[in-house]
């Protein structure tokens, strides 16, 4: 007996057009230029002469329906009910009426910050952390909060040499932009997974688990007649991929987990090609709730950059101009053997020329 069901599936998201401000709809694809008016505010001018004003404000990204309702109420009041979010999780109000800018900002500043445009530090791309993910070596939302508390002045102003884009990820899976950020904070495990031999045979496929290890550290074995795996601890570099495919290999370790700090990545093609983020500080222990060593380290890097870089130089471009030896010098960060690459293409990072600074 078959049942007729009204269940709708595979309808996809609604059409974006219905969410576009009338001025945007009218000038779609016909914008002429934009101009930053002040931190957090810019105007886009169309060929028709029309203008649309954008006001950008911070969002912690991990928010409640209440927080959203606060935003929609402001949108109704000031931007004809139109708003959007950015690829960095800021909220943008799209205003037809210039006069609404300042009143909107005033109300926004009661519960958040306005800024994140131009030569500023925008919102931090980040991940789940201890709030939701089994894989995390640190928290994400908390780290973002404490770091942005320290750097808020760079969000609400445009006094940096150029954009500075930060990312936080709570484990090596890097659910975000860690591998290509001006500064990135990355949660790291530092001990091999421990094996729950009792449950492993039921929970995990042995061949998949063995195959998951990039360094062939996981090997099949049997204990008391039951198939399981063992880990060659000398080969393990704590990536956690085995845990991803096999829950019986937990890798979290309260004593040894922590964060590392990376610098000099970028995504845009402006001036220089996209660059990967490179290791700055190999390890800082987790120190919640406010991770003071981490915020100090990040702030130090930001300030040294702010002081030394030339206009339009992103972090990585500045470092390339002055050289890595000078970067370590100026920031006072110690250069260690951990900075020397030893993975797949390590050899391509070695200095294969005489060009060097002293």
């Amino acid at each position: 007996m078959s049942v007729t069901t009204e269940r709708r599936t595979d309808i996809g998201p609604p059409h974006y057009e219905q969410f576009l401000h009338p001025i945007i709809k009218a000038n779609y694809g016909k914008w002429k230029y934009h101009e930053g008016l002040k931190p957090g505010v810019f105007v886009h001018v169309a060929e028709s002469g029309d203008s649309i004003y954008t006001v950008r404000a911070a969002s912690p990204r991990l928010i409640s329906t209440d927080f959203v309702r606060k935003l929609t109420a402001l949108a109704d009041k000031y931007s004809d009910g139109y708003l959007r979010f950015t690829s960095r999780n800021n909220v943008e109000f799209l205003l037809g009426n210039k006069d609404n800018i300042d009143p909107l900002i005033k109300e926004l500043e009661e519960f958040t910050l306005v800024g994140g445009t131009g030569r500023s530090i925008s919102n931090i791309v980040h991940t789940q952390g201890w709030v939701h993910c089994h894989s995390s070596a640190t928290d994400a939302s908390g780290l973002v909060k404490v770091v942005m508390d320290e750097l808020a002045e760079y969000f609400t102003s445009m006094k940096l040499p150029h954009k500075l884009r930060l990312a936080v990820a709570c484990c090596l899976n890097m659910c975000g932009a860690v591998h290509a950020s001006d500064i990135a904070i990355l949660g790291v495990h530092r001990t091999p997974p421990r094996i729950d031999h009792k449950n492993l045979p039921n929970l995990c496929e042995i061949p998949t688990t063995v195959a998951s290890c990039p360094n062939n550290a996981v090997r099949p074995t049997s204990i008391e007649g039951r198939s399981t795996v063992k880990v060659d601890e000398d080969k393990c570099m704590y990536c956690g991929n085995c845990f991803t495919v096999c829950p019986a290999m937990p890798i979290a370790d309260a004593l040894n987990d922590g964060v590392s700090i990376w610098v000099g990545g970028k995504i845009s093609n402006a001036r220089t090609e996209p660059m990967f983020t490179k290791l700055a500080v190999p390890y800082i222990p987790n120190n919640p709730p406010r991770w003071p060593e981490v915020t100090d380290a990040v702030k130090n890097i930001v300030e040294v950059y702010a002081k030394n870089a030339k206009p339009y130089e992103r972090m990585g471009e500045w470092i390339n101009r002055i050289g890595w030896p000078k970067f370590f010098d100026l920031t006072g960060i110690e250069f260690t053997k951990y900075h020397l690459d030893d993975f797949r293409h390590a050899g391509t990072t070695y200095r294969r020329s005489l060009q060097n600074r002293y």
């Binding site: 709708r8 599936t9 595979d10 694809g29 101009e35 969002s59 991990l62 329906t65 690829s87």
Partner: protein
């Protein structure tokens, strides 16, 4: 289980100028026991310096293989409110544009069925509904679809495509990122909802090489706007920049990566044949310079995070293609999926697959001709697999 919420460590995160998620969550906690236990577990994590979540199990929406991330606390006795704490990924609209009305409706749904917490948005682009129990998944889905919303991707499927604001509010857009995102998302609903790939496949669309969606770093396939002809120049507007006293030499001329800009008097000259479309001059002089008129997109393949062979940026597969209609794009995508299906391994991203089998084999496999724009440089090692050779005449 006592009812009080003591979070001395988390309370430290209510301080400071940046908006506090703890403040927000604590307000929610008074309405939602689930959020209260979330905060209590989080407080414990802050004390113990470790997370307490278990690996996701198999939960989901009927007929869908993706869109839900199952999550359970490892300490259900202590924190029963989060014994289930599943995530729903709601497919965002192109460009993350909303009206208050639509957002409020979404919030009503989530207040009714879940924790009332969300990520706006997830790193892939979805509107993430964070935390509900298994029994509420179907009802949430029913209410969502009733209001024309659907789920995004997770697992080994097409992940929710996303795009930059593009032509909606940016003068640099070289093609309609919003339209393409809408088109692909709808065309590939099956691939999005039913994991059938070797691994995840992400598509991100940026309207120009500024790449405001990080397509080159975070998408298996990046579709990034580009132009082919000359940068459009408004010399009068340029002269105004000169008159304003701006340091054109230092800020623009010296920063051009190929040194192809020169200034004579108040006139700017660009050697477009040597311009690599980096965008810097256009970014810096938005009133005077604009992208060219012959617009389209470049397509990159294979970007990803470091697990397991190291991070990859996307590599150029098509240096330029017209974007007047999207049929060529469908065709390309399907040829790639076919090839990946045939040659890829389980849990091997397309980028790793190309690394393993080589770009030459890959492009041959999907029917593209080699062009020098695909590489930084030709090979520098002599290990060539010559294919044609001559047989001895006897």
């Amino acid at each position: 289980m006592s009812d009080d919420l003591k979070t001395p460590l988390l309370d430290e995160l209510e301080k400071g100028p940046w908006p506090s998620f703890v403040k927000d969550l604590k307000q929610m906690a008074s309405k939602k026991p689930m959020v209260k236990d979330l905060l209590r577990q989080l407080e414990k994590s802050y004390r113990d310096k470790r997370g307490y979540w278990k690996h996701g199990g198999l939960v989901g929406i009927m007929g869908y293989g993706g869109g839900v991330i199952g999550r359970y606390t490892a300490l259900p006795d202590e924190f029963p409110g989060v014994s289930h704490f599943h995530t729903l990924r709601v497919n965002q609209p192109s460009g993350w544009f909303y009206t208050s009305k639509a957002l409020n409706e979404l919030m009503d749904i989530w207040d009714a069925h879940g924790s009332g917490l969300l990520n706006v948005h997830g790193s892939t682009g979805d509107l993430v509904f964070l935390g509900t129990v298994t029994d509420e998944l179907e009802p949430t889905f029913r209410d969502l679809t009733a209001k024309d919303w659907d789920l995004g991707g997770s697992g080994s499927d097409l992940r929710t495509p996303s795009c930059c604001v593009g032509p909606a509010r940016c003068e640099n857009a070289c093609y309609d990122t919003l339209a393409l995102t809408y088109d692909l998302t709808h065309k590939y609903q099956d691939e999005l909802h039913r994991p059938m790939f070797n691994y995840k496949y992400k598509i991100k669309m940026s309207g120009c090489p500024n790449d405001c969606t990080a397509a080159i770093a975070r998408s298996d396939m990046g579709i990034i706007g580009i132009w082919k002809d000359d940068i459009q120049v408004d010399q009068a507007a340029f002269a105004e920049y000169v008159d304003s006293g701006m340091d054109i030499q230092g800020s623009v001329v010296d920063k051009c990566p190929t040194g192809c800009i020169s200034v004579e008097g108040k006139e700017i000259k660009i050697d477009n044949s040597n311009c690599v479309k980096c965008m810097h001059c256009i970014n810096t002089l938005p009133k005077a310079l604009r992208v060219g008129k012959e617009r389209g997109a470049a397509v990159t393949i294979g970007a990803k995070a470091p697990i397991v062979e190291g991070a990859l940026f996307g590599s150029v597969m098509i240096p330029f293609m017209k974007m007047d209609n999207f049929e060529d794009m469908h065709d390309l995508i399907e040829r790639i999926w076919e090839f990946w299906d045939e040659h890829g391994k389980n849990r091997e991203r397309i980028g790793e697959c190309v690394e393993r089998i080589g770009l030459a084999t890959f492009i041959e496999g999907i029917g593209l001709d080699p062009v020098p724009q695909m590489v930084k440089q030709p090979r520098d090692n002599p290990y060539i697999f010559y294919e044609e050779y001559y047989e001895e005449e006897s």
